[in-house]
């Protein structure tokens, strides 16, 4: 099996919240270094699937999972997998920008500080890491004089970019995004999309979106889900232009609901 080409592979993944089955036998392969989007109506399990990949679902209790998830060739439910390392490798960006209510500078270093031994980061190193992270999300020019301001006072677009920048010092390989643009205006959406496009070479992106135009614009591959089942997974262009499954066709041509 050639695991190197796929960042994430799931094998017959099923998931229950109590008695309710949210995912039904999902088998999917997410290619490395590309942007893959997950579309489908509300409640179809997109977000649940996304949350499986860094095991944040487990926090809610009452969740049963069956099947296998291989991330970078390793089953994440193996007992020897460190949950903390997994979450470092698989970063997550949320629907509402949620920077910590501390300074921009501390936000970016928050994860790294917790993961490295006490006082092992020198001042110069920290400065450099912050500059690198902000530069890669195109925020350095805007924020270089505002590093000490509270992150929650920034514009939403900047906050969301900061949430992406916050992941970078931990050197993730996969970035999960749960409707990252739904709280942003058109300009902010465009900026975040551009950013994803630039970063997609070095990171694998998996993005949940309700906006089909966005899925079409940003993603190389697209997955359509319906009521917990994976209906279709193809290249974006193909999925939108000639969907194979009638349910997909209904959805992408807006005949659904």
């Amino acid at each position: 099996m050639d695991a190197t080409n796929y960042s994430i592979e799931t094998e017959n993944l099923s998931l229950w919240y109590g008695d309710f089955q949210a995912l039904i036998d999902v088998s999917v392969k997410i290619p490395d270094g590309k942007i893959t989007s997950l579309i489908g109506p509300s409640g179809c399990g997109k977000t649940t699937l996304l949350r499986c990949f860094n095991r944040v679902n487990e926090r809610y209790g009452n969740v049963t999972t069956k099947g296998e998830i291989n991330i970078l060739g390793k089953n994440i439910y193996d007992p020897d997998v460190s949950l903390l390392e997994l979450r470092k490798t698989v970063g997550m960006v949320f629907q509402r920008p949620n920077p910590l209510p501390i300074s921009v500078y501390d936000n970016i270093l928050f994860g790294l500080r917790i993961h490295s031994p006490f006082r092992s980061l020198s001042r110069a190193d920290s400065d450099e890491i912050v500059e690198d992270a902000l530069t890669s999300v195109f925020l350095w020019d805007d924020l270089k004089d505002k590093l000490k301001t509270k992150a929650t006072s920034l514009q939403l677009e900047q906050q969301q970019k900061l949430c992406i920048a916050r992941l970078l010092p931990l050197k993730p390989q996969i970035i999960l995004m749960d409707e990252p643009c739904s709280a942003l205006d058109a300009k902010g959406t465009l900026a975040v999309e551009e950013l994803m496009d630039v970063l997609s070479g070095s990171y694998t992106f998996l993005i949940v979106t309700h906006n089909m135009a966005q899925a079409r614009r940003v993603s190389t591959e697209c997955i359509y889900m319906f009521l917990g089942e994976l209906i279709e997974h193809r290249e974006t262009q193909a999925l939108f232009d000639e969907p194979e499954h009638p349910k997909t066709a209904d959805y992408v041509q807006m005949r659904y609901g």
Binding site: Y60, L84, R87, G91, F94, P99, L100, I114
Partner: protein
């Protein structure tokens, strides 16, 4: 929550009846004589005894507030809100915190001082604990609860351990809420100490019998009722939703 409502009502009524009985029951009225209590510095030399009391009670005060805070954080973060242990502790604390501070003082005086004739270290400590612990607990619980869930989730997603999330993120952001609870708890215990000093000094000097007049007890009961209702309703209205 639906099931617990009748229980709350019954218990409230029970507590009210017991208090009513204690307050209106005049059989235990004792005329305090200076000679009886001459060895109590608290009554003869308030200033000296204040120093003494603070020295002996301060450790208890600090420990009981700390226990309240630690217990609240443990309960809120590690015990699921549906479990019986969470519900019971939550409920008992709500009742304890809802009782006006003056009642603890009065009960202490009535039961322990007048019946046994002296104030033991244990009695005082127990009063201080009852006065401060529930308040410290409740304000810590609310402060911890109000830390933004989505931000907390983001911290978890950065691969941070639970204990680390709490020490590095939750506690710093709940700090002001916790401290406000600490000050309220301390002020409660000081207030009661002051009140009892005033009452006793006055009782001794006027050689009156220590009893609560009926008209005063009406106010006290009304205060108790309102305070308990407020505390229990606050509990009901607090949103304990978990994110979907």
């Amino acid at each position: 929550m639906n099931m617990s409502y009748p229980i709350i009502l019954c218990l409230t009524c029970l507590i009210l009846l017991v208090t009513l009985y204690l307050i209106l029951d005049n059989r235990h009225n004792t005329v305090l004589e200076e000679s009886d209590l001459i060895d109590h510095e608290i009554l003869t030399d308030p200033i000296y005894s204040l120093q003494d009391k603070i020295n002996s009670m301060l450790p208890i005060l600090i420990v009981s507030i700390l226990i309240g805070i630690v217990f609240a954080v443990l309960l809120q973060e590690w015990v699921p809100a549906e479990s019986w242990i969470y519900r019971i502790s939550d409920f008992i604390i709500a009742i304890l915190a809802g009782i006006p501070s003056v009642f603890y003082g009065l009960l202490c005086v009535y039961y322990f001082l007048l019946k046994s004739g002296r104030v033991s270290y244990l009695t005082q400590s127990l009063t201080v604990v009852l006065l401060t612990m529930p308040i410290a607990f409740q304000s810590t619980q609310n402060a911890v609860k109000s830390v933004d869930v989505s931000i907390r989730e983001a911290v978890y997603a950065l691969g941070v351990k639970k204990s680390k999330v709490i020490t590095a993120h939750v506690l710093p952001h709940a700090y002001s809420g916790i401290m406000s609870g600490v000050y309220t708890a301390v002020s409660r215990s000081f207030f009661v100490a002051g009140l009892i000093l005033v009452t006793f000094t006055w009782t001794i000097h006027s050689r009156a019998s220590f009893s609560i007049p009926k008209n005063a007890s009406v106010f006290l009961i009304a205060a108790l009722l309102c305070s308990l209702c407020s505390s229990l309703l606050k509990k009901q209205s607090v949103n304990t939703d978990y994110p979907a």
